[in-house]
Amino acid sequence: MTIQDTPLVRRDFLRGALATAFAVPLAGTIASCAGSGTAKSTAPTGSRSAASSAKNPFGMPASSTVDAVIFNGGYGIDYAKFAGKMVEKEQSGATVKVSPATKIAQELQPRFVGGNPPDVIDNSGAGSIGIATVLSQLEDLKDVVDAKNYEGKVIKDTLYPGVLKPGTFGDKLAAINYVLTVFGVWYSASLFEQHGWTVPKTWDEMMDLGAKAKKEDKYLFCWGKEAATYYLTLAIGSAIKEGGDEVRLALDNLKEGCWSLPAVQDVLKAMEKIIKAGYVKPGGSGTQFTAAQAQWSNAEEAILYPSGSWIENEMKKETKKGFKMTGAPAPTVTTNSKMPYEALHSAAAEAYIVPTKAKNAAGGKEFLRAMLSKDAATNFAKNILSSTIVKDTVPADGFGSTALVSQTKMLEAAGDKVFTWGFVDFYGMNTDLLVLWNTFLDGKSDVATLTKGMQQLTDKIRNDDSIKKVEVS
């Protein structure tokens, strides 16, 4: 789930800003126009579907059209068109219409109100629909993962562990997040080799590396204003590894005093030490985040950057030659942490949803079945250099990408010790957290102020009865 929000900050923000800026500011007026559409009563999907069979497990009507709206961001939509072709081949007479969209919420809002949403949506990017808003209008996708893929294997057995968690709300699998993302700290293997540095496994080692980097006139970290919360992600990941599941549950369930747990505090204090020592490049709160990332990947002014595995694709054009981008898991506080160092924060992004009121919801599910088949997943990995949630689609050479290889290696090392959390995005806390973290990374606040601020935000949501909570276990 965390990543559902990270696209908000990571992906081509300028484009987002542009599109947003062109929209009429009085959004209330737009909203009202959208509302005037009368809701057509659509026939329940069941009545329009054909009998289900092994070849057509969801009973997609013969010769029907599937209307897929795909977020057109860093991944493009070609991979979805590829899957669409597969559906057309498998279901004779079917047509799959793949249309791109950049502002999902704005573009699809009238269709949701009008009762004719698309059959399948890639709900991603800066303008994605808050999943809590439409949760009750979505199909349960459990039957998709229970079905067999185009190679005849049950889909759920072909997936990496834990990848369905971000899309599960209560007992409903409302979204299938397609792209596997691994979170950690990223570095240049060649630079580290050149200086004989090793990747720090604890925060103490991190301090030492900071001193070494300083000698080379480099910073340990750098950050950009829209991505300050990447450091929060790193902190939470590290704290969960240190304190185990109880930390994750406390945070995810917005428990009282969750930010004051010893594991969380230890990590924040370690970070504060690094900031106060001047190992973080100053000025991040005024730097656009991709510019900041280029300070790491191109200028090599900073040597580590906490991020998700999309970073390679995002910085493709701004990465120094021979950089050898490699990822490592978040550090722990002590060497006897509750979870081993290899434990990994990994989740899936690009949430695919199927609205219940869609004309051809069965077709939407069929589309997802094609996407989760080996051919489509391999095609994605090969062209985008990112892994999908489908296992064994990346060869040992990672199609020539060191980042992709390290991602696979980290996943293998972690085994089933993979975790994630969702509260930041589910309750839409990122914007408020960004403010606190920019100030903290700037060295203008301390652990106490940061803790107090985050706790206030958390308490406010917990005590607001109008916000529906999701119990995480």
Binding site: L8, T133, V435
Partner: protein, 332 residues
């Protein structure tokens, strides 16, 4: 009236009536003219301006999520939520700061510039502007030609702490304290830096507007003032400003409405609302409430508040202008 009324009373009503009668006859020509030039615009206005507005007001009283046809009437609870919402109140505060500062600064600056290029030149001979004034006029109009979003993106780069032009120049000049200084990331400077960009973008436009106004003032007035010994400042306050009062009022309202919006600039330069929300404006908060949080009802309430503030502002400008003597029309 009384002098006239006595003599012509009986006859005066009759010709008046006959004169008015043809006006009452509704010929096809007239009806079709009314329909096309009055009816159609009114219908358009009602359909596309008034009705959405009324609808937005209605939605502000519901808990509409924006993604379903269902909604419940919740009365004024959205407005109550807004009053207790610290972030929203902060954005209201920021918008009001903008509306107080921006129009004054922009208009004073552009008025001074307009005076310079039209009447501020040599105090001998013909009334004229500074030398090369047409060159300055073109230069200062440049920023207005650039779209707002580009201005925002451009200045974001200029303000960049490490690679930006501003810090580059400042550190080169020896101000080492500005190396890596985050202009848009520091609570003390973010708002001022943003305001500067907006002023920069609009000074040229308002200058041209005022130049046109000043050109409409008869040169004799300036000549007479000069003969009476009035200096440039006195000429400006006593002649220029009173003579183009209406232009200034219009400019003030336009600039004020723009400052209440300021959406594009804010989103381009500080999409997240700036350090400690110091540059967050109402329009931004409204947008994220509607589209990312899925609370269209609440967002509509914000829209209504914004509209109310805008109308209040326009009303205030009229009142102030009237109170300061705007109703004594000196041009006639």
């Amino acid at each position: 009236m009384t002098a006239l009324g006595t003599g012509v009373a009986p006859g005066s009503t009759k010709p008046a009536r006959t004169r008015r009668r043809p006006g009452k006859k509704l010929t096809f020509d007239k009806v079709s003219f009314f329909l096309v030039f009055l009816g159609v615009p009114v219908v358009f206005y009602l359909a596309f301006v008034v009705s959405p507005f009324v609808q937005a007001v209605y939605y502000s009283l519901t808990d509409w999520s924006g993604f379903s046809p269902e909604m419940n009437f919740v009365g004024i609870s959205n407005y109550r939520t807004l009053l207790g919402d610290g972030t929203f109140m902060k954005s209201v505060g920021n918008s009001i700061t903008l509306v107080i500062v921006l129009p004054v600064v922009t208009i004073v600056l552009s008025l001074v510039l307009a005076s310079f290029v039209t009447v501020g030149g040599s105090s001998h001979g013909r009334i004229k502007g500074l030398r090369n004034s047409s060159f300055y006029r073109v230069i200062s109009f440049f920023p207005y030609v650039v779209p707002a979003i580009i201005i925002g993106i451009m200045w974001q780069q200029i303000y960049d702490p490490s690679a930006g032009l501003l810090n580059g120049v400042l550190t080169r000049l020896g101000f080492q304290q500005f190396s890596s200084f985050p202009w848009l990331g520091d609570e003390r400077t973010a708002m001022v830096a943003t305001m500067f960009v907006i002023v920069w973008g609009f000074v040229g436009f308002y200058m041209v507007l005022f130049v046109a106004g000043i050109k409409g003032i008869p040169a004799e007035l300036y000549e007479a003032a000069r003969i009476d010994g009035a200096g440039r400042f006195r000429t400006m306050t006593r002649i220029t400003i009173p003579m183009i009062r209406d232009n200034i009022q219009t400019a003030y309202i336009y600039m004020g409405i723009l400052s209440l919006d300021a959406f594009v600039y804010m989103v381009a330069m500080n999409p997240g609302g700036g350090p400690n929300n110091s540059t967050l404006v109402m329009a931004q908060q409204l947008f994220s409430t509607a589209f990312t949080q899925g609370k269209f009802g609440l967002a509509c309430a914000m829209g209504v508040v914004l509209a109310a503030i805008t109308l209040t502002f326009a009303g205030l400008v009229f009142v102030v202008n009237w109170l300061t003597g705007g109703h004594e029309d000196i041009t006639e």
